[in-house]
Symmetry: C2
Subunit: 153 residues, 2 copies
């Protein structure tokens, strides 16, 4: 009898990989976020950037990029878009003419407040099958993974 490669669980099945499951669930959240805010709504990355700009007024672009975990160069288009929508402004910083501080406009603050409510509903909807403990555990574990990685480098 010839030996064939066994169909047994020599290897982790795809479904048991955290990375794969993260990807699948991330895609679900991402798509639902867009559906929730609609065709003309803010993209996830613009919402994230606006959120940090509102909650950390006068943050610089470099700081914001680091906070979001993306490159400075990638942030330019995001800030361009938010500024184009009149949601925030680039303002010069006295003392260092290289820096642009990001200041949310009143319109930006108002829109952020409105959108945030819908974002909460979107999360609530997707998480509705989880118990309170499961939700807390999920956030906690995701933050722990982020922190461990950031401390590594």
């Amino acid at each position: 009898m010839n030996t064939v490669i066994s169909s047994d669980s020599e290897f982790a099945t795809l479904d048991s990989l955290i990375g794969y499951n993260l990807k699948r669930v991330y895609m679900i959240f991402q798509a639902d976020f867009r559906r929730t805010l609609g065709k003309e709504g803010l993209s996830p990355r613009c919402y994230s950037a606006l959120s940090l700009a509102v909650q950390h007024t006068d943050i610089t672009q470099s700081e914001l990029a680091r906070e979001l975990g993306i490159e400075r160069s990638g942030l330019v288009a995001i800030v361009d878009e938010l500024e184009g929508l009149g949601l925030l402004s680039r303002v010069p910083v006295p003392g260092d003419r290289r820096v642009q501080a990001l200041s949310p406009t009143r319109k930006g603050q108002k829109l952020f407040a409105e959108i945030s409510r819908r974002v909460s509903q979107h999360e609530e909807r997707l998480l509705s099958t989880l118990s309170v403990e499961e939700r807390k555990g999920l956030v906690s574990v995701l933050k722990k993974l982020r922190k461990a990685y950031e401390e590594r480098e």
Copy 2:
């Protein structure tokens, strides 16, 4: 005294959003996966497709696309790449000439086995700060979220 928009926690802070944390952790896993398999290594999506093809021999392209949660059209390039690398073959299915079954080659099975070991190490490395319970809870919750979404539609 004028009322200003309070900096208090009226809204969920960005860091407390599951969607945002999912994105950040997904990016970490994705980048580390690529670093682990190297410049010439399989991409995450090709590894996923090969994994399912190996563990579900003669799966059709449509079935595989559905299993991966992507469009049939998107799978074409993935199968092209895997076939180009000699890791699997499109084989005709008797009885329905529309269908292509995907059959991993011996080389594909061997490479999958080798790579899977490295993928396990990559996951182990990233998850090393989590307890066994936390890991189990994470997979379980991610699967639960996927399942709930898939049952919804």
